[in-house]
């Protein structure tokens, strides 16, 4: 370690700005999708499943939404 190396300050975010109101990186968007998926499933089980619609419908919808968020968010 005799040679001096330039040191750079960390960059705050390497993310990008999509339609979400904050800067996000891929992991953030996956995280957001999962959070939405879990929340939606719970609400679905409470309010919609008793009406006869399977929770799998919710899962499919959430996966589509998730893909969209990860790609464009």
């Amino acid at each position: 370690m005799t040679e001096a190396k330039p040191i750079q300050a960390p960059v705050e975010h390497k993310g990008r700005r999509g339609f979400l109101p904050i800067e996000t990186n891929t992991f953030d968007r996956v995280f957001i999708s999962v959070v939405i998926w879990i929340g939606a499933s719970l609400l679905w089980m409470r309010f919609i499943e008793p009406l006869g619609l399977s929770v799998w419908i919710c899962t499919v919808l959430c996966i589509i939404l998730g893909v969209w968020i990860v790609k464009k968010g």
């Binding site: 975010h13 904050i22 995280f31 959070v35 499933s41 719970l42």
Partner: protein, 291 residues
């Protein structure tokens, strides 16, 4: 640009330790959460039930009540601690004789173990034993019974938490107050703004990151409170102080309903993470605006 390898090397030990004691158990809990597993059931062992535990949970009034109760409790203590802490931190920024003494005395509650906090407060408030009900009754004629009246138990739990954690909040806010630049404040005073205006339009915005940090930390801990309340009231009277941590404790331990309890904790963890994440995003955005 220097190589990231050293950076990862420095980070790895922490990640390994947290992985072992944090993430592995988490995976196990996720796994158990999809099973029926009660060792006192007629059918033994773990039985896969898919999402049935969660299906039960969203209709479980006892659980939802406990969750709301915990949220209400958290909001109450955070608001009280924050306002009180701000007031005290403000007074501590001034030099006055005896400041060091007060400050030293004031951090005492921080070092008391939660379980001892609960025990001590229990000793303080049990009728026939503790001084608080005795003097309240003797001097003011107030009948103070934490075992009978839900509101008394609730108030005691809040008071206990305020007692235990306001010092931490105060110190953190004080650290923030001493670190913010003084010039804008003085300038504004010179320009004729009154104290309230300065506080409202300069101090608060500058302190926002600290405030959010404190809220974050207190919220995270208040949502999982167990030890203190366990010693103080054990969740009574009725279910008045059965906060979610205690509720889960009861389901997992005396009822030994491991599967359902696991699902329950995951749900609570989910809510906590979402709440904290929102705060975290707010926090880093506030930080960025300033940068």
């Amino acid at each position: 640009m220097r190589s990231n390898r050293l950076g990862w090397t420095l980070l790895t030990p922490s990640l390994v330790v947290l992985g072992i004691v944090g993430f592995l158990p988490f995976l196990f809990v996720v796994w158990v959460g999809f099973h029926d597993w009660n060792i006192f059931a007629a059918t033994r062992g773990m039985i896969w039930t898919g999402a049935n535990n969660y299906r039960r949970l969203v209709f479980d009034q006892e659980f939802l009540d406990a969750l709301w109760r915990t949220l209400a409790y958290t909001v109450t203590v955070v608001v009280i601690e924050l306002s009180l802490g701000f007031l005290l931190a403000q007074t501590l920024t001034r030099q006055f004789p005896g400041r060091a003494f007060f400050r030293t005395i004031y951090v005492l509650p921080l070092v008391v173990a939660p379980i001892a906090v609960g025990a001590t407060w229990r000793l303080m408030v049990i009728p026939g034993f503790g001084p608080i009900p005795y003097f309240l009754e003797r001097w003011f004629g107030i009948e103070y019974r934490i075992g009978t009246y839900a509101s008394h138990a609730w108030a005691t739990a809040v008071l206990m938490d305020v007692w235990h954690w306001t010092p931490f909040v105060t110190l953190t806010l004080l650290a923030g107050l001493t670190a913010i630049p003084k010039e804008p404040l003085e300038q504004a005073m010179v320009d004729g703004a009154n104290r309230w205006q300065v506080f409202r339009h300069l101090t608060i915005p500058m302190m926002m990151p600290v405030i959010l940090t404190v809220v974050f930390i207190r919220m995270m801990d208040a949502l999982r409170v167990v030890d203190e309340v366990y010693m103080l009231t054990n969740g009574g009277p009725g279910t008045a102080t059965t906060f979610i941590g205690l509720h889960i404790f009861r389901v997992v331990f005396p009822k030994t309903d491991y599967g359902y309890g696991s699902a329950m904790s995951l749900l609570v963890l989910y809510f906590t993470i979402v709440l904290c994440w929102l705060l975290f995003v707010a926090l880093s955005n506030v930080g960025k605006q300033k940068a």
